[in-house]
Amino acid sequence: MTDVFDALRLHPTPATPSPRFTAALRDRLTTALETPMTNTNTGNTASNTASTAGTRALHVTPYLTVRNAAAAIDFYVAALGAVELHRLVGDDGRIGHAQLQFGSSVVMLADEYPEFDVRGPESLGGSSCSFHLEVDDVDAAHALALTHGATEVRPVDDQFHGSRQGVVRDPFGHRWVLSTPTPGFDPASYGTNAATMGFELQEPAATALSGDEHQVKHYDQGDLYYFTLPTPDLAKAQAFYGAVLGWRFDDAENGHVGNISAPPGSAHGATVTADLYFVVDDIHAAVTRVRAMGGTADEPVHYDSGSAATCTDDQGTRFHLSVPADKYRR
């Protein structure tokens, strides 16, 4: 016997959701794949770390475990000024993963998952690490945290190292150092102040800041390493950018900007366009690639800051390849 309702039969027909939904769900899945709830194959963590080290910039994100993550998120938002980015709530009610934004930093957190040996300070009977939170007004931030139920560990006071700080323990057992730079503190007194406290300042030779505050960074191929701005009158440029952006210049001769981190650059009289220097792993191989692709490349030149080769792309746009000197990278 036929059933007229068989006419309703739908045959599989793919349909494409909106690009926005597609991208958002992909992000959620990527995040879900990082949660402690779903991450059960931790056996090969070491090899993962090793294989990622060469391909992406090093970056550490704190991942907190708390008993009652929902209450903790409320606390961090109300008491410490965090902004909740998202949370993944499991079908058992636990939060498997959440991300909070503190200023420019992201902090991840999750509920306890004892079945995966993920436990918070309340279960472990303490916490081994502290979170250093830079705030505009440490006195106000400290008072606000206490109002919301944090416990005072150390009252706010000026510290020898150049910050005014207070320390609190949040209701979930994590320790927070709230900190504001002391106005007018001379960085040069860091070492001498430490000495009065019985500590000797020691720095590894490779990463010690030299007098001109060169920044030592991790670079990957393709990163912007250096720039120059065309400024026919260097003295005027130094006055202008010093006032506008706070740039300090190491060397009146070459206009190198010494106090910015990524990337360093200079105002320069020699060129008529802005110049961009991109990092490559092997400058000779890169020069060969440029030429093979129809661009032009000068022979690499060695500078104190590393090797560089001036190139034009196949449409005539000028750019530079560079290999940062070892003293500027790690």
Partner: protein, 189 residues
């Protein structure tokens, strides 16, 4: 926790890229709104993340099966608030199925007018083409209860389709009919 280079992770995101149109395509033609289809699509793939981490093989048939379960859960949630209405609706029910052809053109709009459990039964039995015993399993009802549910659902469908046709052709002003037809055309997959 960065596992982006881990083979299972890459495999799952690769599956996502390939399978998304199939899963979304399945759901969007069976849901009353795009938003619901998106929610259930997300639930399906998040379940796939968990499954892949516990070693289960996740592929398109697995995803469609999971999407079907998510759909049943959705109707169940929608129906929970309408339990009383359901009892009232069905207390005097004496419909008998006929062999008159049915309106398959506006199926999604007609289904959207039905009670969730009627929508569920018809979708699983006819849109998906599942045998009655599988429908019964999915809806957690006995075979007999599912058969009578299907009878009532089919009657409800005819009733709603007839009502809708009436609205679209006769009872409204020309302008409003135009609007409504346009809206429905827009909602066709």
């Amino acid at each position: 926790m960065l596992l982006n280079d881990d083979p299972p992770v890459s495999a799952l995101l690769q599956l996502y890229d390939e399978a998304l149109p199939h899963v979304y395509g399945y759901l969007v033609r069976r849901c009353d709104s795009t938003a619901t289809a998106e929610d259930l699509t997300a639930e399906t793939f998040l379940a796939a993340v968990s499954a892949s981490q516990t070693g289960s093989e996740v592929n398109v048939p697995w995803l469609i099966g999971t999407a079907r379960h998510k759909l049943v859960d959705h109707w169940r949630r929608a129906g929970r608030n309408r339990q009383l209405l359901e009892e009232l609706w069905e207390s005097g029910d004496t419909h008998v199925d006929s062999n008159e052809p049915i309106d398959a053109l506006h199926v999604r709009d007609v289904l959207a007018r039905l009670l969730p459990h009627h929508c569920a039964a018809l979708t699983l039995r006819y849109l998906d083409g599942l045998p009655v015993d599988q429908v019964a399993t999915l809806l957690e009802r006995s075979l007999h209860a599912t058969e009578s549910l299907l009878m009532r659902a089919k009657a409800a469908y005819r009733h709603a389709a007839g009502e809708m046709t009436g609205e679209m052709t006769g009872e409204m002003t020309g302008e409003m009919t135009g609007e409504m037809t346009g809206e429905m055309k827009g909602r066709q997959p």
